[in-house]
């Protein structure tokens, strides 16, 4: 009944008027769907405990100062995106765009912009969270310079997030990627070099802890140093002999072998 009357009413209108009605309908639907999306995204984020995870990060604090929360902000961005798409469609119905190509460009650009915004927000959150976690882990090390480590972690994550966002937007990022490659190479290669001995010792230490070839109280000799085992941890074995304590890296145990004194 209502539908028939609506269609006949629509048929009486001129072409331009028809488009205006359709555009208004599209905007209205966009508004509803956008709101629904925002609600759904917020509920999903809350279900995954994102709000608890971002607690205490500077980003969350800034959001709170502005009278919102991180989850709500993310939800609003999603909803706004849906609404924007609807608005662009409505505009194309009204033939505001001078050319069809501009519409196509805008429609393909919007998702990229959306991804870029989400990546930047996520990058900020992850970077803040990583900084907090690293800081907490290093708190027991009472050395002021260790805060540098957490800053490096934070800015590395921000850099990568920024890079992803920029490349989404189609900005030329080749130079930045070269920089990232050099940086990553430096980090991995140099830390690998620096931690080589530690890693080798840890691998050997795990073997020693699992198989227990010697235990505390046994008399052993490693690499010519003989004594009673006092302590075995992941990185080193401590053996003691007449007031002399040797701290022997575990990789030496595997490389040179150990002699156990049986009596």
């Amino acid at each position: 009944m209502v539908r028939d009357r609506f269609i006949s009413w629509l048929g009486e209108l001129s072409n331009a008027e028809q488009n205006l009605v359709m555009a208004m309908l599209v905007v209205l639907v966009g508004l509803v769907v956008g709101w629904l999306t925002a609600w759904l995204v917020r509920r999903t984020l809350e279900a995954f405990r994102v709000d608890a995870a971002v607690e205490g990060t500077p980003f969350e604090r800034t959001a709170r100062q502005l009278g919102t929360t991180t989850t709500r902000l993310l939800a609003q961005v999603c909803g706004l995106f849906v609404f924007l798409v609807a608005v662009v469609y409505a505009a194309s119905l009204l033939q505001i765009f001078p050319e069809e190509t501009l519409f196509g460009a805008l429609i393909s650009f919007l998702p990229k912009l959306f991804v870029a915004v989400v990546v930047v927000i996520a990058g900020l959150l992850v970077a803040d969270k990583a900084e907090l976690l690293v800081d907490e882990r290093l708190r027991s090390v009472k050395l002021p310079e260790v805060t540098l480590v957490s800053s490096v972690v934070k800015f590395s994550i921000l850099y990568v997030a920024g890079l992803i966002a920029l490349s989404q937007l189609g900005v030329a990022t080749a130079a930045l990627i070269v920089l990232l490659a050099a940086y990553a190479f430096g980090v991995f290669f140099l830390t690998g070099l620096a931690f080589k001995d530690l890693l080798a010792s840890a691998a050997a230490g795990i073997y020693l802890l699992l198989t227990d070839p010697y235990s505390i109280g046994d008399e052993i000799a490693i690499d010519g140093r003989r004594g009673i085992v006092q302590e075995i941890d992941v990185f080193a074995t401590r053996i003691e002999n007449d007031g002399e304590e040797y701290i022997i890296p575990n990789r030496l145990v595997l490389r040179k072998g150990a002699m156990r004194v049986r009596n």
């Binding site: 235990s215 006092q230 302590e231």
Partner: protein
Amino acid sequence: MTEIGDLLDDIVADVDDVFLFSPSGSLHERFLDHGIPAVVVAPENEVNAERYVELPLEFKDLAERIRFGIEGALGDDYVEEGDQVVCVAKLFSEDADTVTRVRVGQFDHSGVYDLFVNSRAAPSVIRDVLEVAIELGKKGQKGKRVGALFVVGDAGKVMNKSRPLSYNPFEKSHVHVGDPIVNVMLKEFSRLDGAFIISDSGKIVSAYRYLEPSAEGVDIPKGLGARHMAAGSITRDTNAIAIVLSESDGLVRAFSGGTIVLELDPEEY
């Protein structure tokens, strides 16, 4: 009330140093503002004091707390023998409510500070073991009073001066004291005979150990049993310390170098 004020003035007259026990930040600041850098004695250095003695246990007995603080300050050369110091502490309330004057060196050197700071094992390990012993003394094992003997530190040597009484339940396990689950395990195993052996880093090396050090020349108060004798002798023979929960009187005692350095009543903690 001027009499009271005069009395307080007498107490604090001509002192060499001020000791603040677990002070609030504002109290510490008040002293700093007047150019008196007090020695802070607390479980944690929350006020960032320059001269600080860590309290490993919240000694309920104020005398014990002051004794520990002064031995610690003496060990760190903050004060000298014969100095007059004033101690500000909390006894009943949450704020500082007690002022007392002590001459450094007034007590016999009990070695309780050395027990924590200069033992082979880390202070936190000793504290964790003491806490297990205190809790065991408080509750007993299933309501029944139990005794226990923990030998902490120098585990290699202790293992060589002892023999297993039975299969070692901690073999091939890498557990450390201070872990809540391990504390439950330790309590369960406390009905086993023999000693627990714990390494410098807090790893539980063995249970069920029969200690066989030479007991020659170990002098412990009469009336204490074989467990205390074993604890005294093993700490004299090695660089370990021993923490004993007595089955007969329920007290926790710590041994170092063959002598008792600390005696605690678990009920007070």
